[in-house]
């Protein structure tokens, strides 16, 4: 610590150069902390599970050929055909599916005319969904075949048996989510009996705060104007083969069209494409900035070393060893970094407040600020090591040569 006051003195004497470096460190700190936080939040968001066996699941949407009142029979026939394909673990029809960006949502009520207790996505399916969507029952019971209603209209309006996700149960019964089993939920003007709770099943919108709050109704629905998404789960590793065979099987029916088909991997990629792109750009800006600042610190230190050769020589001649010289530069950098980080902290908080308003994200937590401080210090010390060791090699004899 004995170097501390000489360092302050020399910084004060140079004035401009240390101020510029401090500002650089401050800005780098605040940008790094904010970008790191935003990247962290995005990757957390992207890693949430849908609940499905994504690697081995795809969905398919076909057209309907029959009269409106017969489409339910036609859909059941399509399902039977798909379930017959070699390698299919399960197939089930739903109005939409996790992350597809298109679907239904609803408000939930505990009494017919009470206040809303929460909102979430609506899916409906038959008893095959348990296996097909890889659902995990964590309370209550799964549908039995006699629970399943059939309709050619929007099933949301029918009184039905439902299971809910744990996230939805927790929202409605924060104290003990298991209490939801056996109760009646009202939505879309109809009472729905809650049979059980499933662990995870995301609904259609990845950007929605209620993406994990899903109700799955025991309704096999086939609407003439909007054919269902048929989810198909295959045996591990047989996805591509089963997809090809499914299309081949279905197209044997004259007039049958495949409106849409996509693997769950593709669905996920599409849903999060913007987040992924933004993360890449944020990473580029953060890394670029760190490199530029490190270069700045490096350049500044080298410039200082060459300017202070005489001084260093004198110190060496007066008995300072090599380590003393290296230490001087490292402590000097640490002082500059500290001031920079303090200013940067203020800046980061102000900048983050701007972003919070602009992008409705949460404020940066303390852990990121601490990590940022450590990174800036390490970055500064690494950048200064080479010029400092060069300085330590200055021969004491140089002090004796005239200026």
């Amino acid at each position: 610590m004995k170097d501390f006051f000489p360092i302050l003195k020399s910084l004060k004497k140079q004035k401009i150069a240390p101020i510029l470096l401090t500002l650089q460190v401050a800005i780098t700190f605040m940008v790094l902390v904010n970008t790191a936080y935003m990247i962290g939040e995005r990757s957390k968001k992207m890693q949430r599970p849908t609940g499905l066996d994504e690697a081995n699941t795809f969905y398919i949407v076909t057209n309907f050929l029959s009269e409106p009142h017969q489409v339910i029979a036609e859909q059941n026939d399509i399902l039977r055909q798909i379930r017959g394909v070699e390698g299919v673990v399960g197939a089930t029809a739903l109005p939409s599916l996790s992350l597809v960006g298109w679907g239904r949502y609803t408000d939930f009520y505990l009494e017919p005319n009470g206040n809303s207790v929460g909102f979430g996505g609506y899916l409906s399916s038959d008893e095959h969904a348990l296996k097909t969507l890889d659902l995990e029952m964590i309370a209550g019971e799964w549908f039995v075949p006699s629970d399943i209603l059939e309709t050619d209209k929007e099933g949301t309006f029918l009184p039905s048996q439902v299971v809910v996700t744990q996230a939805l149960a927790q929202k409605i019964y924060p104290d003990n989510w298991r209490d939801i089993v056996g109760t009646t939920l009202y939505f879309n003007g109809a009472p729905h009996h809650v049979k059980g709770v499933i662990k995870t099943l995301q609904n259609a919108w990845q950007f929605w705060s209620a993406v994990d709050a899903t109700v799955l109704a025991g309704v096999n629905e086939a609407q003439p104007a909007s054919p269902s998404h048929i989810a198909v789960r295959t045996q591990p590793g047989r996805l591509e083969e089963v997809m090809n065979n499914t299309v081949e099987t279905l197209l044997k029916t004259p007039g049958r069209k495949i409106e849409k088909m996509s693997t769950m991997r593709e669905v996920r990629q599409k849903a999060y494409k913007e987040d992924l792109a933004t993360s890449k750009i944020l990473t580029a800006i953060g890394v670029g900035l760190a490199i530029i600042t490190a270069l700045g610190i490096f350049g500044q230190a080298r410039y200082n070393v060459s300017r202070r050769t005489q001084q260093i020589g004198t110190r060496r001649a007066l008995g300072a060893n090599k380590w003393d010289i290296v230490r001087f530069f490292m402590v000097e950098n640490a002082v500059v970094s500290s001031i920079g980080v303090v200013i940067g902290l203020l800046g980061a908080i102000i900048l983050n407040n701007q972003f919070v308003e602009l992008l409705s994200i949460n404020p940066v937590p303390l852990s990121y600020l601490l990590a940022g401080t450590v990174v800036i210090f390490i970055l500064g010390q690494l950048a200064v090591i080479y010029p400092a060791t060069r300085a330590s090699r200055v021969s004491p004899a140089i002090a004796t040569r005239g200026a």
Binding site: V31, K257, K273
Partner: protein, 440 residues
């Protein structure tokens, strides 16, 4: 005199090649980062139809249930019901007016059995579409009101589809098989892709226009419909699941645009909407209110959050990046000019004024700034190429600089280098001749 300073500047750059190179590189990198992100943000949010952005309006009505209205607050839906669209189209106040819906169908050229049948996205609309949105044609035209009223089987192809099915030849008057029916080609569009695609939905903002266009009545008559591709929204259950049930329901599915050239016609049309809503309320519809809204292009883009904030965020960060580069530059300039203090001392001693030194170094700075700008422009092109890969799902047109952006890049580089170089240059020109001469 200026040529002399320019010569000195070149000499100065050559004397400290490494520092000069670093300064140029710093300016270039900072400028490139800023201009790359700014270009994307600018192109994402630019005015898609400058000539008409103030006179085109999206029509919104309030057919919410009372319950749903509480949830939506001030916001109205950007689509209206089919029955409302049919009624509103009867007005003769707007210069042009269109109703939009969409579908997905198959399309093939019956004379070319070697080509696959295409699955095409279909924009179903009314005849004014092409006039209202200033859509350019290569061959032929749109369809007229008569064809619309008759639900004629006519079709307009985009350039892309015409290239695929007819090798880009004039196909007007030829027939295609559209959804297993025979359709006659009325026209072929020239390249047309407004960015952002303001007239559609938020999820569609940066996609190309749909592949083909057919009359709305033809869609209705033939029941070309799939809920997946039609952007239908129901707050109340339709009476029955059939297509005709959907058309008479409160489900909104038509995106309607009107062209109102001045304030007077706009006020007139607004009155028309209000009295229409009141009349419908008297029939027992519009239980929540008789509100209506006319949103111009910009308001529509904002109202539906059609333009992502990500672009703006990246610009913010890139500007900070530029500032760090320039601060770095400033340190480098200090070092550069400090190293030249002997030269300054000598020049001062033989009679050069402080101003002369100041101008000399400023010219050198401008030279560095200009070099930085040029290199920055090249790097920005590289950056935009990389962004084209990252934003693979956006049209490539967004990742392109126009002339004014390129000029901005150069000027910004020059301005930044002069602004941040001002202090180092001032300091250098203040050098005391005697102190420097002593050490010679």
């Amino acid at each position: 005199m200026m040529t002399y300073y320019f010569k000195l500047a070149c000499l100065g750059v050559r004397k400290t090649p490494f520092l000069s190179f670093l300064i140029v590189a710093m300016i270039a990198i900072g400028i490139a980062a800023t201009m790359t992100t700014y270009t994307v943000s600018y192109m994402m949010s630019k005015d898609p139809i400058p000539a008409k952005s103030q006179t085109l309006f999206n029509v919104q009505l309030d057919n919410y249930t009372k319950e749903y209205a509480i949830e939506m607050g001030d916001k109205l839906g950007y689509t209206i019901t089919y029955q409302d669209a049919v009624n509103l189209l009867k007005s003769d106040i707007p210069v042009n007016q269109v109703a939009l819906n969409s579908s997905k169908e198959t399309l093939s050229n019956p004379l070319r059995t070697d080509l696959d049948t295409l699955n095409v996205m279909v924009r179903t609309t009314t005849p004014d579409f092409f006039r209202l949105f200033d859509v350019p044609f290569t061959y032929g035209n749109g369809w007229d009101q008569q064809a619309e009223d008759d639900a004629a089987q006519v079709i307009v192809l985009t350039k892309k589809i015409n290239n695929q099915l007819f090798d880009g030849e004039n196909s007007v008057g030829k027939t295609v098989v559209f959804a297993d029916k025979i359709f006659t080609i009325a026209g072929v569009l020239d390249h047309w892709s407004p960015i952002p695609k303001f007239y559609s939905t938020a999820v569609d903002t940066y996609n190309d226009p749909y592949d083909v266009f057919i009359p709305l009545n033809t869609q209705i008559k033939n029941e070309f419909y799939s809920a997946l591709n039609s952007d239908t929204y129901c707050t109340q259950e339709p009476a029955d699941g059939s297509f005709s049930g959907l058309l008479t329901s409160e489900c909104t599915m038509i995106n309607m645009w009107v062209e109102l050239p001045d304030e007077q016609t706009k006020a007139q049309y607004k009155d028309f909407l209000t009295s229409y809503a009141q009349q419908q309320q008297a029939f027992g519809r519009f239980e929540n209110s008789t509100r209506s809204k006319l949103l111009n292009v910009k308001e529509r883009l904002i109202d539906d959050d059609m333009i992502p904030n990500e672009g703006k965020l990246a610009v913010w960060l890139a500007v900070l990046f530029l500032i760090v580069c320039l601060l770095n530059c400033m340190s480098l300039m200090m070092a550069k000019f400090f190293g030249r203090s002997r030269e300054v001392g000598l020049r001062r001693a033989v009679g050069a004024s402080k101003q002369a030194i100041f101008i000399q170094f400023s010219v050198e700075l401008a030279l560095l700034g200009a070099l930085g700008g040029l290199l920055g422009l090249a790097l920005a092109q590289l950056g935009l190429n990389i962004l084209t890969g990252i934003y693979y799902y956006m049209p490539a047109g967004i990742m392109q600089m126009n002339l004014s952006l390129a000029v901005t890049t150069l000027l910004l580089a020059l301005l930044c280098s002069l602004l941040f170089g001002l202090f180092p240059v001032l300091k250098a020109s203040q050098t005391n001749p005697s102190s420097q001469l002593k050490s010679l």
